[in-house]
Symmetry: C2
Subunit: 203 residues, 2 copies
DNA sequence: TACTGGCCAATACAGTGTATCTCCCCGATG
DNA sequence: CATCGGGGAGATACACTGTATTGGCCAGTA
């Protein structure tokens, strides 16, 4: 599983094949089936292993939830393949449960019936936001490794389609609005969500 | 592309192979490369095609954003494979831009610099929430098509791990808290987010 | 009529996850 | 001590994937 994570970190999820993992371990491919039942199980184990790095901390429910989201984002930055797997199947491994435990424990002051929806919402936001962020990062890299070429290759396409006049509102926003960086965008959305939660649970 | 969507609807994303799409069209596989450059492009086209079904409607920014999230969820229910693709790469196809346009147009009363973060946050939440929902739905189906067997197969595992005493807070919440259905969970999280947005943009 | 350019089909290739078959070694038994 | 049996490791096999390359045919032109 560690070998698989190293492969994925280095060359992406596609580079994780049972044959490659086996050779990394100096073992024959079919040996792996003594430990896992299928490749999906290996992927689940990888995700749970990374959950060990997601350790929410902080005082009070708000800080802990924020920390959960930020830690998820941080983990996905270090393991971009995580964005492809997060939310793809239920996470019930020990490390995932452990981080869930610390979060729920920090929500002791919250109404017990509200805990699950709140945690679920923060998780959903974090997963969706991280996915888009990683997708953009990859797209940038695909067009020549630097941001200028990305703008240069995307710009003309967008200009052309905006020039059709079919998306006037979108065009003005893209052209006129301030462009926030990824950090700010993530935090603003998270603040929206946490504000809304705060308003409801302290009602 | 329509053929590919039908295949995916029927048997999941794995069933979409260029060979199968080609035979569905009574064509030889390599013919497809006259229309697409790679399989990824086909997947992008499929996603954009489904974006045609995502038509946010409503009066006022709040209703439109809610409609956007609900429509995304609805589309993913009819095309479960969409959950695997959403957020996986930037969506710049015409239909995706069109739904973005109607959303942005409905946010005319909002500060222009706030529009992008707001839309991004709602999208992120919708994608993350839909993913988890679809993941659960699949897990249920995988354990025998009905919910009872799902509980029966998951229950013992959770009971065992909770019995270790390592997740006391989680255990009490799972055992004692009311379990909301998927519709409510989605709507509650969405309300959190929209409340938070409302508080900030009308500030 | 000879030729040539383009396009379509077929084949080829390197890889995938996983099922099955084979064989060898080691331990237990007569 | 010899023989046998079983279990596990290894190799092989299979069906399939996405895509590059090759072969051949046919239409249009000189």
């Amino acid at each position: 599983m560690r070998a698989a994570i190293e492969l994925a970190d280095a060359d992406g999820l596609d580079a994780v094949s049972l044959r490659k993992v086996a050779t990394a371990l100096d073992v024959r491919p079919m040996r792996l089936y003594g430990y896992i039942a299928s490749k999906e199980e290996l992927l689940d184990l990888m995700v749970d292993a990374v959950h060990a790095e997601i350790r929410p901390v902080g005082d009070g429910w708000r800080e802990v939830l924020r920390s959960l989201a930020e830690a998820t984002r941080h983990a996905a930055h270090e393991h971009e393949w995580l964005a492809d797997l997060l939310g793809g199947r239920p996470q019930l491994g020990p490390h995932a449960l452990a981080s869930g435990e610390t979060v729920v424990a920090a929500l002791g002051s919250v109404d017990v019936d509200a805990i699950m929806p709140v945690v679920a919402a923060v998780n959903a936001y974090a997963i969706g936001a991280v996915r888009r962020e990683v997708a953009e990062r990859r797209a940038e890299r695909a067009t020549g490794m630097d941001e200028k070429r990305w703008q240069a290759s995307l710009g003309p396409y967008l200009e052309r389609t905006f020039a059709t006049g079919r998306f006037p509102a979108l065009a003005t926003v893209v052209r006129d609005a301030a462009h926030l960086d990824a950090d700010h965008t993530f935090r603003i959305g998270l603040d929206f969500l946490l504000d809304g939660i705060e308003a409801r649970i302290s009602r």
